[in-house]
Amino acid sequence: MQLIALVATLLLLSAVGFHLGRRRAAARSAAADRRPHSLPVYYGSYVALWSGLPALVVLLGWLAFEPLVVRSLVVDSLPLVARELPPERLGLLMNDVRNLAAGVVTSRDVDPEMAAAAETYLRLKRLGAVAVAVLSLAAAIGGLGLALRRVRPDLRARNAVERLVERLLIGASTIAIFTTVGIVLSLLFESIRFFNAVPIHHFLFGLEWSPQTAIRSDQVGSSGAFGAVPLFAGTFLISLIAMAVAMPVGLLSAIYMAEYAPRRMRAIIKPLLEVLAGIPTVVYGFFAALTVAPFLRDAGTMLGLGVSSESALAAGVVMGIMIIPYVSSIADDVITAVPRSLREASLGLGATRSETIRQVVVPAALPGIVGGLLLAVSRAIGETMIVVMAAGMAANLTANPFETVTTVTVQIVTLLVGDQEFDSPKTLAAFALGLVLFLVTLALNVAALQVVKRFREQYD
């Protein structure tokens, strides 16, 4: 509540700064009888930005560091016994202090020391709130005053504002980049911890996956084998089946839409196909598990084939249906982008429509089509929900699509679901799997983008 009031005040100050800056620029240039360098609105923005941004920095800094500072101050005020607790216990204690301060029920009896700590905590919080309000308001007013003094006809306000705006934009884009870097680094460090416990070649080339590690030595059925090959083979098998479904169906429907469908038909079919992309994957998942998998099992039984009720085939087929719109939409775009003049050249030579498509249009669009297929593959590899529900959990190393297989993503889910300790190889393995998965899809995406780029260059 206080925070909202503070932010509103700061915004108000910026608005005031905008008006003052504009008026002052007009007044000063009139007094000096000179045309100002920039339009009045830039002087206004200049002052507004200089009053708003420093205050914003102060505010964000406080939001980021306040909990840490308050916490360490409170810990310092605790008696020595408590301060020497192991970090986890100390964390629990601090939680109780916070709860006590907020008036929520605590998990232990309240002793005077804790009450004192809670008192300190509350006091520090209040002090911090006042401090940040004072500091940010001071920054806003100071910035406003300084900027206002610098407003003169020869101040290059437009350039300054443009520079600031550019910095803001850079800041926005770095947020995304830093998040990615952060994710990759956390994957990397946890993976390194995993590889300290399990040698990397066991992980990459081992043929047996059985991640249950023994907590006590007398436990059975927990071999702790971390050979990831069955998982990658399973991922590969399911992706292969998915592409075998999505590639022909997607490509052929794209060719129909781009080359044959009358305009009105296309206006209906294209959105309908793209609806497929909007269905949540979990819906595909139970469609696969409850409809497709039993159907395949029964059909297999009739033909005398042993199809297990959770099979790579069921998951792969449904996943293929899911990625049809990725293939067809991109392929449709690149086929439509093939210049009309090429089609006319071919038709003008007496080629039929299908000859034109096979020999001119598709070859010309091929790089783009391949790019779309690669994107679809990386989508298939990363897909989790369908496989969790329809392909099973058993890490079989098999090329038989009728058997149960499991994929990298499914194993990551099972490794991390439930109560886990984050220092056993079992949970850390999830990070290593995630890292490898990330590298594979990254490579595929880079390759796809390269291919698509090459295609673009050809027709610009």
Binding site: S341, L342, A345, G350
Partner: protein, 269 residues
Amino acid sequence: MNVASKPALDQATLDDRRLAKVSARDVDVFYGAKQALKSVSIDIRPNEVTALIGPSGCGKSTFLRCLNRMNDLIESCRVAGSIWLDGEDIYTSGLDPVQLRARVGMVFQKPNPFPKTIYDNVAYGPRIHGLARSRAELDEIVMTSLEKAGLIDEVKDRLQEQGTGLSGGQQQRLCIARAIAVSPEVILMDEPCSALDPIATAKVEELIDELRQRFTIVIVTHSMQQAARVSQRTGFFHLGELVECGETEQIFTNPRHKLTQGYITGRFG
């Protein structure tokens, strides 16, 4: 034919239309509700270059595209009237437009070689129509087509390079070679030089004059000088109508219609 009411058009058609290579009578073309051509009648004589001139949007390209039924590809387009090729109606339902286009080739405004090798560009048509029974025969067709298009000396050492890597003028001559490789009877050219520089244009014009020996050529052009240089007969289109048609020399020196005179003297267009 009512000679008295349409004196300017008496040269557009022959008394016996079967003598013409291509013969059009009362051709109307509609794009949706809009009429693009109004009752165009013209006879195109064999082994001549016929130029179609007129201001932008006058329907000359539309008429050209009727002659090989390229307008079929436009959904909203409707053609009425009759067009004969060698005395045979090309708009009867029994006629396959695909076969028609093998007999009536086309060269487009912008050079549009396929993104294939030079060899494959020229071999494309012969392959589709099965014109060559062996590799050697195909080589022969490709080489003679390139030769007829006056391109052979420039490309004979790089037949396996991409056709799109040639210069604009070379690309357009490659497209002409591609068109004549199918041995058409008529070649339609839709402003073939408008994307080319003057030197390349001169080469293509020279080529058109040579090709007249073997083919009947209809060329749409914006340039009256070009029409005067390459054609034997000229038709002038205005607002979807064929205003005047006659020998090129007569059209440019002694036009019979006011509109023609206004256009060729540069008063409008």
